[in-house]
């Protein structure tokens, strides 16, 4: 795809000046910010998920059995 793009004649479909327009600059920054946000989310997905409760030591003991067997 990139090779094709490089092989296309310059500015055939769109004038190159569009790249220096204000609208394009806004679009580029909009996409840049979004990309950074999604990169952060992608990074979070790579790493193991952290749970605050794992670090807070709590002895979890039920006051009564939850089993279907009343005397369990």
């Amino acid at each position: 795809m990139m090779a094709n793009a490089a092989a296309l004649p310059a500015g055939v479909l769109l004038p190159e000046s569009i790249l220096h327009s204000d609208g394009f600059a806004i679009l580029a920054t909009f996409v840049a910010i979004n990309t950074l946000m999604y990169v952060a989310l992608a990074f979070a997905k790579i790493l193991p998920k952290a749970y605050a409760s794992d670090w807070i030591h709590r002895t979890r003991r039920r006051s009564e059995t939850r089993s279907i067997h009343p005397d369990a």
């Binding site: 840049a32 979070a44 279907i68």
Partner: protein
């Protein structure tokens, strides 16, 4: 119900919120200072490749803010969801949450209702091709179900004969016009009254097979916790060949990984295979038309296109405890063509939106709203990305590399590969190539947008069904 319902407006609400968020960012960008693009430099890579590159990167202040915002959103949604779940587990309000664990515990204290037994309902509409494998996967479980009932709904093929041949019971639906949900309601009205507190009902699709150990784990969970109202399966795709199948497999692998990372916190009690305590199903039927949508007396809401998603929200709304253990996995059928996938996803999307519209904004639907809004924003973000790419491709005189952005792209590649690692080399390879999956995401985004517009414009939605037929039986020669 009544108050808090959105119905058709759900599409407009999502459009407005996701679009509003994007517009806000757009205007903030337009109002602020933008970095002026520097002149690209030229360099030689590996001594032969002449490249033009641009070292442009966003200002650190903006980059940090964007990253922090995204992580805050993700962490905020996750922690809010956990808080809601914890609170609903502690409630003792019998009017609002009759299935709350403490209430169930109190009403069953000191009573032994017998061991956990499993009755499987398999709704089937012309499923002759896959039903046999489904029944076999049940009978070969280390913990076999006590009863298996095929709920034959308007079948014109050999579904009923196959069920009989495998020695399981059959309930045929009568004058059912409400598809799967209607057939299941009819079957449940016959089966439910005879079941005790620990005689759980499992609903399982006829195109699905249980992995070994599914029932043993589910039964152990239901034995250990009498307040547990439902156990949901985790599905992954079958081994169909082709790129489209691999896209779907990757998607399911990532979904399963996400549920495991949520430590079993249920998103949807999948229709492919989930178990319910009779108390849960009875309470849902009694509450319909009163505190939750639907017709009083029906277990499943026949108006919903995604009855499993609706049942999950119903159960959550009534305070029921549920879990998706990581060992409870099932293999399900993948859509064989793009057209079928389109229809399936449009139904899922439409169903999810309708369910949100019917329930409105409640603590129990918060996570589902967040998901819809997240996808909505993603559609806009990906669309903007494609737009930028297109403009650059057609307006530049030579290809310019942006090392900063290529570097970030590598993070995406790693994420795509790591999240499907379990799927083997084919899955990883597809993930690593990034762009095919990006186009698959774009396809799903188009479905999403169509779903939103359809519901906003009040268009009718329809079911789809993969038609299977058995291959012709080879004629056996004598001798």
């Amino acid at each position: 119900m009544g108050a808090g319902r959105f119905n058709r407006a759900v599409g407009l609400v999502i459009l407005a919120v996701a679009g509003g968020a994007a517009a806000l960012l757009w205007f903030a960008v337009a109002a602020g200072d933008r970095p002026t693009s520097g002149t690209p430099s030229e360099g030689i890579v590996f001594g032969v490749w002449d490249v033009v590159y641009d070292t442009e990167a966003p200002a650190p202040r903006i980059a940090v803010a964007a990253i922090a915002l995204a992580l805050l959103f993700a962490a905020g949604v996750a922690s809010l969801e956990r808080r809601i779940v914890r609170r609903s587990h502690r409630t003792t309000d019998a009017g609002q949450a009759p299935l709350a664990p403490q209430l169930v515990m109190a009403s069953t204290a000191g009573v032994y209702a017998g061991p956990v037994t499993v009755t499987v309902l398999i709704p089937a509409h012309n499923e002759e091709a896959s039903l046999g494998a489904t029944i076999t996967s049940l009978s070969s479980q280390s913990h076999r179900p006590e009863r298996v009932i095929v709920v034959a709904d308007n079948c014109t093929d050999t579904t009923v004969e196959i069920a009989h041949r495998h020695g399981v019971e059959v309930i045929e639906s009568v004058d059912n016009t409400h598809k799967k949900a209607g057939a299941l309601n009819q079957a449940m009205s016959q089966v439910l009254p005879g079941l005790g507190d620990n005689d759980v009902l499992m609903v399982m699709d006829a195109d699905t097979s249980l992995d070994q150990g599914f029932l043993a784990v589910a039964v152990a969970r239901l034995t250990d916790d009498r307040a547990l109202m439902a156990v949901g399966g985790l599905f992954y795709g079958d081994e169909s060949a082709g790129m489209l199948a691999q896209f779907q497999r990757n998607e399911y692998i990532r979904y399963g990984r996400e549920i495991r990372r949520r430590r079993g916190l249920v998103f949807v009690l999948t229709g492919t295979a989930s178990l319910f305590r009779p108390r849960a199903l009875r309470t849902i039927a009694e509450s319909r038309g009163l505190s939750i949508p639907g017709k009083n007396g029906d277990v499943y809401d026949t108006a919903s296109l995604t009855e499993d998603n609706e049942l999950t929200i119903a159960l959550k709304s009534l305070g029921g405890l549920m879990i998706s253990p990581s060992q409870c996995t099932v293999v399900t059928e993948l859509m064989p063509t793009w057209r079928m996938l389109w229809a399936q996803r449009l139904r899922w999307q439409r169903g999810a939106l309708e369910n949100l519209g019917a329930y409105g904004m409640t603590p129990q639907t918060f996570r589902y709203w967040a998901q819809q809004l997240g996808i909505g924003y993603g559609v806009i973000a990906l669309g903007a990305y494609f737009a930028l790419f297109t403009v650059m491709t057609f307006a530049q005189d030579s290809w310019i590399w942006f090392p900063f952005w290529v570097g970030l792209g590598l993070v995406f590649v790693v994420e795509r590969v790591v999240t499907v690692w379990k799927g083997g080399w084919t899955a990883r390879l597809l993930g690593a190539t990034l762009f095919p999956e990006l186009f698959f995401a774009a396809f799903l985004n188009v479905v999403y947008v169509k779903g939103i517009f359809d519901i906003a414009l009040g268009r009718r939605a329809t079911w789809n069904h993969v038609v299977h037929t058995l291959p012709p039986q080879p004629v056996r020669r004598a001798g």
